[in-house]
């Protein structure tokens, strides 16, 4: 009882002592909003200042993640009929989330794990900011590609493919540069770290699948147990 009272008291103290004004618009460091755009065209300087001058913003990175997800959902139904092979009854929001953000989440965790072992200097939060900031080209190209797909014809499909590939390639380049700068690696170390991260991603996927099937088996076992138990009564 007293523990609960103590807990509530400490909560009240926290709410009183915390500097809520930090989050007011006029007190925010608004240079951070421009940073994703700066990273797009000046990656080395951008990532460096994100790490050492504190210009990375967790909120902004989350917004980029959200934007990717929203773009994926929008494109599912709204790409032009000629390029859209999705059936609306097949819409699966979890799958769309995985398509948009899943790989990057895997990358973030794998990169942190691998680079910690390879004496990288990047912290979890820094890697989070860096990966999402490097996805900015994909976010920027997403809407124009969507609009173009509504206007284009089958013969013009290569242009859309090129645009998509440019966005993806640019993002991946930024990702590699972010690895280099955030962990302060040489070029060779970056390549090694990236390949190991990819490998770690596949291992992680394998483990997740294993877990899923294990859980399924366990649930099936429990369910049969329950049914047997009921039928015994």
């Amino acid at each position: 009882m007293t523990i609960a009272v103590q807990f509530i008291k400490s909560l009240a103290v926290f709410c009183r002592e915390y500097d809520w004004n930090r989050h007011r618009w006029k007190n925010l460091d608004k240079t951070k909003i421009v940073w994703p755009f700066r990273v797009m065209v000046h990656p080395f300087a951008g990532f460096d200042e994100m790490k050492y001058s504190g210009r990375g913003s967790l909120a902004l990175a989350n917004i980029i993640m959200l934007l990717l997800f929203l773009e994926q959902i929008l494109s599912f139904s709204s790409t032009g009929f000629i390029f859209n092979k999705n059936r609306s009854e097949d819409f699966n929001i979890f799958l769309e989330f995985l398509k948009a953000d899943g790989i990057l989440l895997l990358w973030w965790i794998s990169n942190w794990m691998v680079c910690t072992l390879l004496d990288g200097e990047g912290k979890l939060k820094e890697i989070w900011n860096a990966t999402w900031y490097s996805m900015m080209p994909k976010v920027m190209f997403g809407l124009p590609i969507l609009l173009l797909s509504r206007i284009f014809v089958v013969e013009e499909a290569p242009f859309i493919a090129i645009a998509g590939n440019v966005a993806l390639g640019w993002s991946i380049l930024l990702l590699l540069i972010s690895v280099m700068v955030t962990h302060q690696y040489t070029f060779r170390q970056t390549i090694l770290a990236s390949l190991l991260t990819l490998f770690c991603m596949t291992v992680l996927v394998f483990i997740i699948i294993l877990f899923f099937s294990f859980f399924q088996q366990m649930l099936m076992f429990l369910e049969t147990l329950y049914k047997e138990f009921l039928s015994r009564i």
């Binding site: 240079t31 909003i33 421009v34 009929f81 000629i82 014809v153 013969e155």
Partner: protein, 500 residues
Amino acid sequence: MKGRNFLSILLTAIIAAGSFTNTVHAVSTAYKGYIYDDFGRSIPAPPPYITETVLTGEACGAGSFNAPEDLYIDGHGNIFIADTGNNRIIILDSNLKMKQVLKEIHLDGMKEPLNGPKGVFARNTGELYIADTGNARVLQCKQDGTVEKVFEKPKSDLIPADLQYKPEKIVADSAGAVYVSAYGMYQGLVSYDGNGNFTGFFGSNKVEPTFQTMALMFWKKLFTKEQRQAMVRIIPVEYSNIYIDQKDFLYTSTRKTEFSLDEVKKLNALGVNVLRYQKIGMLYPHNNFGDIEWDTEKGKFIDSKFGDVHVDSDGVISALDTERSRVFQYDQDCNLMFIFGDKGTQAGNFLQPSAVEKLDDRYLVLDTGRNTITVMKPTHYAQIVRQATNLYNEGHYKESVGLWREVLRYNSNYSLAYKSIGKAFLQEENYVEAMKYFKKGEDRAAYSQAFREYRKELVRKYFLLYLALAIAGVWLIKRLIRLLLDLLGFRRKTKNIMFW
């Protein structure tokens, strides 16, 4: 008085109006009618053929059949049945009454019995071809049994001497050349010229590159000759049946292919498959014949196995699936038209079908397991679909629209109907309506065509407006970026932290 007259007129008017509407007739059959939509999902459809009669051997006056394995109907309506178990060929006329039974053939003045004939074919000029499988030969004879030519096992370096020659199915083209599909001959169809000389193999299947075969090829490069000879040989699958049409195109069916593609082929004179199908924007490969959704049995997928193929004068290809006893009908563009039949013992179901042929507008299916021939006649739905498809294939899109609308009242999922109506609108340059129908028919290639023209029209009409909008848009975006930067506290003049 006035009210009574009015009421009676009103009533008769209502009844009369009712008699003008087209009623959609429902039929009940032993099988459930279904079809595949554009996404490759099975959906219910009106059944296209219903059983007219089930013919046994006794009913046509020839004595019961015994495991008959081939059926052929020539251009005059004569029906030829290879009654394999009874070692005879039965000829019926187009009224399904017995005309003749061939138990022995006259060869060089001697009478010889047939031995397990598995194939029969007849040209419109009257020559009869029998695949005398048990005696390893193909006979060309007159309809009374007098043999004119014998086609024996060909002597060639490609055929090992100890291979047993088992000719099963035969066709002959208009020049008299004979094509034989023999059991185990993976090299292709054995072809003879009109004089009985072997002229080589025709059009074999290709070995399909699967992961296993490619891995095997890789190992074969590394192994010695002895090791290679002990390994499995990678050879293509053989054809299960053949059919020849009026223009001497050979249609072949293959029982099973690795990727379930190209089970039915149309071969030209060079042995090349010339069956065309839409490739752009298709949601499943249209050269995947048979069932697209498969059953699993003990964890293995069971695809369609094709045992026979038939093509009629309109170009409708009927492929017989022996696995689930169904007949799939396609037009010349590989659009699926109908599916009928099912496995079972009811009238209209088949137990072990081995051949499908057409007599006038009815289809005859030979059931080896039950020794019967089932005659299926088309329903009203099948008739209008065939009529409409004929018009569509001849390019008369506008005339087919009325028929297609009636088809849609029976089966609103029939995408070919939407595509055809769309094409009709496209022809008369009504692009908006064309696009609407192509969207319903999931035809992305045609929609793209219509959209291209519509886009041209729009731009031509509103070019200046679009130009003005584009300029305004660019100016607006620049302004907005400036505004954003100002709000964020950057002045464009100072260059302390800037991004371009």
